[in-house]
Symmetry: C2
Subunit: 354 residues, 2 copies
């Protein structure tokens, strides 16, 4: 090994879900929205003045920040935007989880949290969910260097009440508590109204799920002005210009099309409830989901087997060969038609073992 290699920050990176390039695949593996973005997004892209691209974008992403501030009834100075919620959360880890104390999150949760902790050399500990995949708030009432969990949680889909979350926030005035609401728009209740009550609360959301814009890479955080200012200071110490003008205007247009947002999230919720019924009939059980996916385990057939068999049939779902969750499949809610194809395939696979 040459000596320069000894100075390299070595890490084990996050593994994102597969993005197969074949056509004809039913893609229920990365919680994307089955519907296209608002038609207003298409319109602004088509009318974008190419010549503007020679200029640096607005560093403050004013058009997007303003749209979000209006939509969520906060001040623009309470909104931070980034290149997907991964960028936002990563920046929050770096900004707020900066003590020698241990950061806490659930054992079964978004599998990027421990990766961020590792890359930024942040000490962390996991708190086991109970057998129903629920968070016990008392696990988070102790000395710590910060707290983060998704609500609804991923990959379980379990939504925790604002009362329970408020208990955790209130008990931790010396830590920043990050609630990662990537899946909040599918029936959950957002913590955003609590940000003016608790200055240690940061709420993160994304355009990748409910707003059908995983491709465009837009995420945001809402918190009190002090938190947002600290995050922006770190962001402006890394890259002044992260949001290109197309992301900014497309994001704003998507936010302003509230009607389409309600329509598409409504259909996904409907399809999810129908899918719960069908999966139960097929012998699956799952924690009740308030997200755009269902975390299901079959009462007799191994999840790894079903995963592989579905793949052979060009249906991609997500499977982790990890302790506690290696007999579950995380199934994204697609269109009704895609879900019917999934159920037919599952019937076929279950019969193989019947």
């Amino acid at each position: 090994m040459s000596n320069w290699e000894s100075n390299v920050r070595k890490v084990v990176p996050y593994t994102p879900g597969e993005q197969p390039k074949d056509s004809g695949i039913i893609k229920l593996n990365t919680n994307e929205n089955p519907y296209p973005p608002s038609s207003r997004v298409k319109t602004v892209i088509e009318s974008f003045d190419n010549a503007k691209m020679r200029l640096y974008p607005d560093t403050n992403s004013t058009v997007l920040v303003d749209a979000l501030a209006k939509r969520y009834n906060v001040k623009p100075s309470q909104v931070f935007v980034g290149v997907g919620s991964d960028d936002v959360i990563s920046m929050a880890f770096m900004t707020f989880f900066n003590s020698d104390k241990t950061v806490l999150f659930p054992d079964v949760t978004y599998s990027f949290y421990d990766v961020w902790a590792d890359v930024y050399r942040i000490p962390y500990a996991v708190r086991p969910l109970d057998n129903d995949f629920r968070i016990n708030p008392d696990d988070y009432i102790c000395e710590n260097g910060g707290i983060i969990f998704p609500n609804p949680n991923a990959p379980t889909g379990v939504f925790e009440s604002l009362d329970m979350i408020e208990k955790i926030i209130k008990a931790n005035p010396d830590s920043v508590v990050i609630i990662d609401e990537a899946y909040i728009d599918f029936g959950g209740e957002s913590c955003i109204p609590l940000v003016d009550k608790y200055e240690n609360l940061l709420v993160v959301q994304t355009f990748s799920k409910s707003r059908s814009m995983a491709g465009m890479r837009i995420g945001f955080a809402v918190g009190n002005e002090k938190l947002i200012k600290f995050m922006n200071d770190v962001k402006f110490s890394i890259n002044s210009y992260t949001m290109n003008p197309l992301s900014q205007i497309c994001g704003a247009e998507a936010v302003y099309d509230e009607e389409y947002f309600k329509e598409t999230t409504g259909i996904i919720i409907e399809t999810r409830e129908y899918s719960k019924k069908r999966l139960s009939e097929l012998g699956f059980s799952f924690p009740d989901s308030m997200s755009n996916f269902i975390f299901a385990s079959h009462n007799s057939i191994d999840a790894g087997f079903i995963f592989e068999e579905l793949k052979k049939r060009k249906i991609f779902v997500r499977y982790w060969n990890k302790p506690r969750i290696n007999n579950h499949l995380r199934i994204t809610i697609g269109t009704r038609e895609e879900m019917e194809k999934l159920f037919s395939a599952l019937e076929e696979i279950l019969q193989m073992k019947g």
Copy 2:
């Protein structure tokens, strides 16, 4: 102060050049290209299938990486892409400047280097340029934790020969040496052909200057496969999806339009050479520039005064009130027409003090 604040990573962020929103401004302050991007960029944006935006982008940015690999005659595994060269360099600081040893860069240079060092808690030291703003290679032949400088240097525009740079790379097998070639396409000679000879060399370039795409946020690095793999590991530990599909395809199209690239960089070089002549006639002196800007100082009138007077006339150039450079203006090369307006304004301002 609440206790959570004591855990915050506190930093002094980088200050980017002003992006005034008024129309009618002659903007020669952030080294943008006065010409629009290739028309091929416009075409792919217009034909982009909006529905695709619901899906996560290709994490590997294959279409863009392949275009760059072909253009620079390296393997795709030797190319790293990011959200502007700031993202790329920031990632390189985090990946490679990870020892307790001191990282070295010039005293007069891109003013983001010390900001990155601070945010990532990297020890650093500056090496003074000589009185002609040249780098003395012997300053970099000593124990260090990494080396970075732009070539041509910013904000001076001075280009250093590949022989000199090779001497530094060769003398530092235990450190990664980053050559920041943001301005290389305006007459300089790139170090990219050296990457197969020295595994400790990383060359960074950007689409923001010579490719007229500051808005789109695309930067890249070329190095040996090991370096690029280490960078990607860190990148995939922070954000798996940074490049949206529009950035990827627009970037690739810009690279494939070599003819337009040569035409526009050629005109800028021509305008720069003409501007050197005109500035000399007006009593300015400057190190010989191989970039798309000129770093000029007047023989009798104070730079701060000229800066303010130009601003009053809606002409923005860049001025830093910092030791060694507080009597210089960095003037971006605009169109010939914009430069004529600048020269007229300068004549007027110089007469005020005459």
